[in-house]
């Protein structure tokens, strides 16, 4: 059974996850803008940067998908906050009732045993099951996002290759594709942190 300390730790973990999500959302927004600029650049380069233009479009779609994914992830963490708050409240009630049981006369103790202990044990179990289910969904969502970001990484690498065929625009295209690669690398590191927080939860 989770203690108040455990539930408090759970809340802190959710806050950390939320901070990582915020950082991914900001980076995804940056990629979106970068992709738009890349599309314009490819248009200016014309025939020599057709492949780069296609990849820039794909990267822009990737950034939009990533932002949507992050919105869902953020909603899930808000849901977790509500569940964990319920668990914290339950833990506090249990603590006070436990103290009341210790102080009460035989009759009071009997009353608490009869009415409350079973009910609260069941409520705690319910809360814990909800948290476990949320965590499973969160883990799955992070894995899906990691897969999406892997695709983004492949697109950035391909853009780099295409940039080499950009003729007079080659160095500009190379610069843009390197920026893509670096920025997607930042997202991958944020996702690694998210996964780490999830793993910490499983170990707790």
């Amino acid at each position: 059974m989770k203690s108040a300390r455990g539930a408090g730790g759970e809340l802190r973990r959710i806050v950390r996850i939320n901070e990582e999500i915020k950082s991914v959302v900001a980076t995804a927004f940056k990629i979106n803008l970068m992709a738009m600029n890349a599309i314009f650049l490819a248009k200016r380069a014309g025939q020599t940067a057709l492949g780069f233009g296609v990849l820039s479009n794909e990267l822009r779609r990737f950034a939009t998908d990533l932002q949507q994914q992050m919105v869902v992830l953020r909603e899930m963490t808000y849901g977790s906050v509500a569940t964990v708050t319920g668990l914290l409240k339950q833990t506090q009630i249990n603590r006070v009732i436990d103290r009341a049981r210790k102080e009460a006369s035989a009759e009071g103790r009997k009353l608490i045993d009869e009415i409350l202990l079973k009910r609260h044990a069941e409520a705690m179990l319910r809360h814990e099951e909800q948290i476990a289910a949320l965590n499973r969904r969160l883990t799955q969502m992070i894995a899906d996002t990691a897969q999406l970001v892997e695709l983004g990484s492949v697109l950035a690498r391909s853009a780099k290759i295409e940039a080499a065929y950009g003729g007079g625009f080659s160095s500009s295209l190379m610069q843009v594709s390197s920026d893509f690669e670096r920025t997607i690398g930042e997202i991958q590191r944020s996702l690694e942190n998210l996964t780490k927080h999830q793993v910490q939860e499983s170990a707790a």
Partner: protein, 246 residues
């Protein structure tokens, strides 16, 4: 733990004062809770904060079945008054909490739902407990802006919330005021600071002077009885309140 002491008894009509926890942590203000029993029904007055719930519950369960406490009366919204609400509702989820209409959307932060609260209008109301008709007496701005006391006309007892409060030093913790003149020294500073309105104070003194009161029971400190009740009301009427000075 606290003890439940009978301060009035007439057949199945009783007032219990739940008082004086020797194990209370001194960072928590000491509080008095009162249980009015009428036959098989009961109302708990200012049930207290959640931190002292174990002590109040333990004392109460020695004299009455906690599941039969059907009403809770909150003189106002402070945490030392009613933050234990959710605990009491565990024992009787149908229990009603009587509180000023002003606080019915604030106190649910301590527990309860839309069916839990009975809003008391500004002019007060009658509250029926068993065969007894009790009266919620307005005491607004003393100290809370939505504040009530509870009068039992048969027992001639007025539960006076924070009015009459004494912050007693260690060792002076008698249930009843024994020496008014020395007791009032522990009352004065609190009332000057906490009671915010001269006009409200005068209105209250006029209102309660018309009641037949044998005992005046505050939420903190000792109970005034007999001639000390009138002495206290007269003293309070002449005290300058709502001023920031010692």
């Amino acid at each position: 733990m606290k003890t439940a002491q009978v301060i009035y008894e007439d057949g199945s009509h009783k007032w219990h004062a739940i008082v004086r926890d020797p194990n209370r942590q001194d960072y928590l203000i000491d509080t008095n809770e009162y249980l009015i029993v009428a036959g098989d029904d009961a109302i708990l007055l200012d049930p207290g904060g959640s931190e002292i719930f174990p002590a109040v519950f333990s004392a109460l369960s020695t004299c009455f079945d906690p599941r039969k406490v059907s009403k809770l009366f909150a003189s106002h919204q402070d945490p030392d008054i009613i933050s234990s609400l959710s605990m009491w509702l565990e024992f009787n989820p149908e229990a009603k909490c009587y509180v000023s209409w002003l606080w019915t959307s604030f106190v649910p932060h301590f527990g309860g739902d839309k069916d839990t609260f009975v809003p008391i209008p500004d002019g007060g109301m009658d509250i029926i407990v068993g065969s007894q008709r009790l009266q919620a007496i307005p005491a607004h701005y003393l100290h809370s802006s939505g504040n009530f006391h509870l009068y039992d006309p048969k027992a001639k007892i007025l539960f006076s919330g924070d009015i009459g409060t004494a912050l007693l030093p260690p060792g002076e913790n008698s249930l009843f005021v024994e020496n008014f003149d020395s007791h009032i020294r522990h009352v004065e500073t609190f009332h000057r600071r906490w009671m915010g309105s001269e006009r409200a104070k005068r209105d209250w003194c006029t209102r309660v002077s018309q009641l037949d009161i044998d005992m005046l029971c505050p939420q903190h400190g000792s109970i005034y009885k007999g001639a000390d009740v009138k002495r206290f009301i007269d003293w309070f009427a002449h005290l300058e309140v709502g001023v920031l000075k010692s």
